[in-house]
Subunit: 457 residues, 2 copies
Amino acid sequence: MAKKEIPYKIYLEESEMPKYWYNLRADMVNKPAPLLDAKTRKPMTAEDLSPVFCDELIQQELNDTQAYFEIPEEILNFYKMYRPAPLVRAYCLEEKLQTPAKIYYKFEGNNTSGSHKLNSAIAQAYYAKKQGLKGVTTETGAGQWGTALSMACAYLGLDCKVYMVKVSYEQKPFRREVMRTYGASVTPSPSMETEVGKKILAEHPGTTGSLGCAISEAVEKATSLPGYRYVLGSVLNQVMLHQTVIGLETKAAMDKYDIKPDIIIGCAGGGSNLGGLIAPFMGEKIKGEADYRIIAVEPETCPSFTRGKYAYDYCDTGMICPLAKMYTLGSGFIPAGTHSGGLRFHGMNPTLSQLYADGLMEAVSVPQTAVFAAAEEFARVEGILPAPESSHAIKVAIDEALKCKETGEEKTILFGLTGTGYFDMMAYEKFHDGKMVDYVPTEEELAKGFSYLPKMD
Amino acid sequence: MAKKEIPYKIYLEESEMPKYWYNLRADMVNKPAPLLDAKTRKPMTAEDLSPVFCDELIQQELNDTQAYFEIPEEILNFYKMYRPAPLVRAYCLEEKLQTPAKIYYKFEGNNTSGSHKLNSAIAQAYYAKKQGLKGVTTETGAGQWGTALSMACAYLGLDCKVYMVKVSYEQKPFRREVMRTYGASVTPSPSMETEVGKKILAEHPGTTGSLGCAISEAVEKATSLPGYRYVLGSVLNQVMLHQTVIGLETKAAMDKYDIKPDIIIGCAGGGSNLGGLIAPFMGEKIKGEADYRIIAVEPETCPSFTRGKYAYDYCDTGMICPLAKMYTLGSGFIPAGTHSGGLRFHGMNPTLSQLYADGLMEAVSVPQTAVFAAAEEFARVEGILPAPESSHAIKVAIDEALKCKETGEEKTILFGLTGTGYFDMMAYEKFHDGKMVDYVPTEEELAKGFSYLPKMD
């Protein structure tokens, strides 16, 4: 087999690992719109944000001119426990598909949190520790972010309080136990620990919670406990910044072997993994140094890019966070019960939103049964059991590889494989038993979601 | 930090991966005793074994003179999907323990089966395929072996029938779903699919099954279906042979950086991972080229080495397999319900048994609460959530590192981290909730087990 010149897995040396995160905004012609204060409609200042977020993270959030941020040595050392992540040549998938396309994926699941979330969790925990804080609070739905943050906090000796949407807390006890293994306190939300939790429980005694409610509890806790701040696992530009380690490693590995992707594909929920993967490639594209087709894949149940509006909106359903300009379905939009909890967010990272608005990237939405079929096909030949979220990218990568089969084109396809599906076997079971259904939101449902958009006049 | 000369993770290049398995028996002065026919008490021939096992695997099982077996290219290519496995320097654990010891672990959990089992699963499936078989049957308890075999069979397009102990089938639905994702049929055992299953169900209508019963069903199925053979995930010498890829890679990685371990530690259930890890080191020790302290760690609930007898015994509780000479607690010994299902086997690999009898290695047994405490300590600093089985090795590695702290010795400790604990969170939950107990078998319980030993006059 002559094609063996490229190894199955390309691992960078530790010395080749990125030492800087790349702030794509610095190279953008049209910068993403600033966060606005929900009341005054004025751009948020560092001071405005400081009761909620860590100081250094606020600087990263607001800075759209500095292209590179040095990765502190402590974070680099933590990265070395599970990075560099392999860039894998999907020889077996190519053979299965009988495609002339060359398929690569960057695999971020080789750590106990099971996903790329750890890249930002350790950064956020580090800055909290550096600021002398006692701990951080956060919310988690599917549980990947909560797990990652728990690991990072355990490593740094920081307290970690996770508000976990009650329905997930009850249905995903193993996720909860992983967080407890890392010493985090995990509270089902809504809880009696916060004023907002008590209020919601009084109004809706039987509620199983929501992400919006969990965010509200986590923010209240962070702002009421001395020495605590709130941290978030996606959407924000600071999170995308930390996730650029994915794309920078990928680019370095590809450059090392003279590989140039034609198509770059990633799943998109809040957008941080996709943004991180594409950042260095998009930087070249913006500067006219190279051209890439870049595709965001979202679930058709929650189609922020493909059917949303580009508008200022709340990041949380509780409407307590600042307003961000993004592609959004409205903070009151409730997506159907898809099994990709990590992609059930109504909005999209502001940087990616601007890039999409500027025509620099494409987006497609896919039904979940097709996603699980792709996941299973991938697992059987590549030996990795992918998370449902990640499998959205697999689905479109396979589609593109099959197009190459038709046309005979030898395109190079790169996609981000963000994590593993060990804690998603209930969804796989539903798929195996033929009980999984697809759902496309109606125009009426979308209109209802848009009705929550704040008036900006 | 000057100690950074050794990277956190040592990955071999693909070109440096072992191309041969090492058959330690060829270098042993005292060879392990042969398998005996349970009825005639004569050594089993290839012909005797051929109705049950694949032909080429039988050759590997019986050959104690050929030192190296070439790894077929197809298997090497499969290995490249998840190997080389990293040899990790546990810098963070060392710092946490404040020990002068240098700790290394070979991590085998970076594949979807979550353990080292895949190393032998792909080999066994390959030889079955090469023989022109349609499929294989096996049993699984905890589920790691069944998962690994399912993956290997999916890759090669081979049918895979797994008999899963009924209690595990019901309590571990996610393990079951992983196997189904890989296209295996998973049957709760005892079942109505086999004569032995029907008989057991008639006699014990409410039984939740046992490994012995599942083996019996799998063997009956293999021998009654044209084109099928039975495969086993541990204990046999052929399995240890395939697992030497662990030790060979480890040795190559250590040699590359001039590292020489003083102590080598592995958990021991059936013995295949431990045997595979230590093989090349033990080979040097036998030949007097180097000296290593080698420690097998077993659960105190199932202490084959430390409290068992070195005698001929059945490998299965159904007493249908050949007799093997090994350290054993008797095929009728029922270990208490420890959470390390993979270590609940009454016997021990015959090669390791001979080495232990010859004083070439040590063994210790440890209580499971101490094992889970070590697992949690490890997870919090090293970021990998270990399987309970693997954590037995962690426990003793930490103990040895703490001894070094007392004496000030800078020993180099190597241990095998065989897998991840994603599907063992129920056990972690019990540990967190303080509901886990330890159990040491009484002399009476051991005597009862020994009463099952066949008379060998």
